[in-house]
Amino acid sequence: MTTHDDNDTPIITSGAATLSVAGVRGPVFAAPLVEYLLRLGDDRLVLGHRLSEWCGHGPILEEDIALSNMALDLVGQANMFLGLAGEVEGAGRDADALAYFREGVQYRNALLVELPRGDFGFTIMRQFLFDAYSVLFLDALAGCGHAGVAALAAKSLKEDKYHLRHSSEWVVRLGDGTNESRTRAQRSLDGLWRYTGELFEYDVIDEAVATEGVVVDRAALFSRWDSMVREVLQRATLDIPKGVVMASGGRRGRHTEYLGHLLTVMQSVARAHPGATW
């Protein structure tokens, strides 16, 4: 597998290491709702880009198209969430400015989505773990008290439900498949599991946006996710890793080394031709 092993703990690439959870709203952080929307947008932008790397490389034509479809869905969602983040920020930055002219330390995506695409089993397993989280999270968010956020969540939810159907089917197929596919699926799950905890972190940003009506019960979210994921992994005959120490940092701009490389590629055209239209 070309991704990572148990030795590559996330590399801290920013000077933000001294920030404690209590100090998470230091001067480098934007208004809470902006931070919150960046998290939503960046998760989808980075994962969408990772999926787009499969374009032309899918295992079969049908799956190549499926992965590219999901990539387009996620980039579209990112466009909406980042667009709203820019509006709320009120500093004249649109979705493009936020996507193409921020550095890695300013990205707020979870570490899970920036890991290299790996083999097909890794991509599908990551997608499944994220889709299950995203469907449940967006479902909760669609009913929250902030009309703008709720509307974007409801719109994205429809797409992510399909993604989940697709990725969970594949997880079962690969896990309960051949020896080779099971081995790869299990290896992917083992490598990815420690990046799932970050999805359910609750910090001062969550606390602050609650006053604006954006409320998602992360504990309830986790228990729903846990049972959903366990049910599918059981059908896939895969073993859930135990005693894993969870990685963290993405929400505070502390990313793995992989994000920088991804951004270099993703941002290169926009930075070479600023303001270009086509």
């Binding site: 034509l61 049908e62 799956e63 198209i65 399909y162 159907r165 197929r173």
Partner: protein
């Protein structure tokens, strides 16, 4: 391709076998009440997989409101050799065509 490998991919009659997943024919319904029409085919391992692949390949831009997938080998097709006996319209037998009736006014003529 060596002879040995080729043998693995060849059927008994020497024709190159399709070593992909099985083939499913896809039918899409463009709108409510419209008939499902043949859109093309996909490869898939089972029915759910075929449905998803059909959705991704033929219905991702809002082309359909409903999808059917059918195992290609469940379709019984007429052979090209049957074309004469099956489809020769018999234009020389005018009595087979209903053109001797007056179509009442108000009836839509196709």
């Amino acid at each position: 391709m060596t002879g040995d490998v080729k043998a693995l991919h060849a059927t008994s009659n020497g024709v190159e076998a399709d070593n992909q997943w099985s083939l499913w024919e896809v039918f899409t319904q463009p709108g409510k009440g419209a008939p499902h029409e043949h859109a093309g085919s996909v490869h898939a391992t089972d029915a759910e997989h075929a449905l998803q692949n059909a959705r991704d390949v033929y219905a991702r831009r809002g082309e359909a409101v409903s999808l059917w997938v059918v195992p290609a080998d469940a379709i019984v097709a007429s052979a090209p050799g049957d074309a004469g006996p099956f489809f020769d319209p018999g234009n020389d037998k005018a009595y087979r065509h209903p053109q001797f009736y007056k179509v009442p006014r108000g009836v839509r003529v196709f």
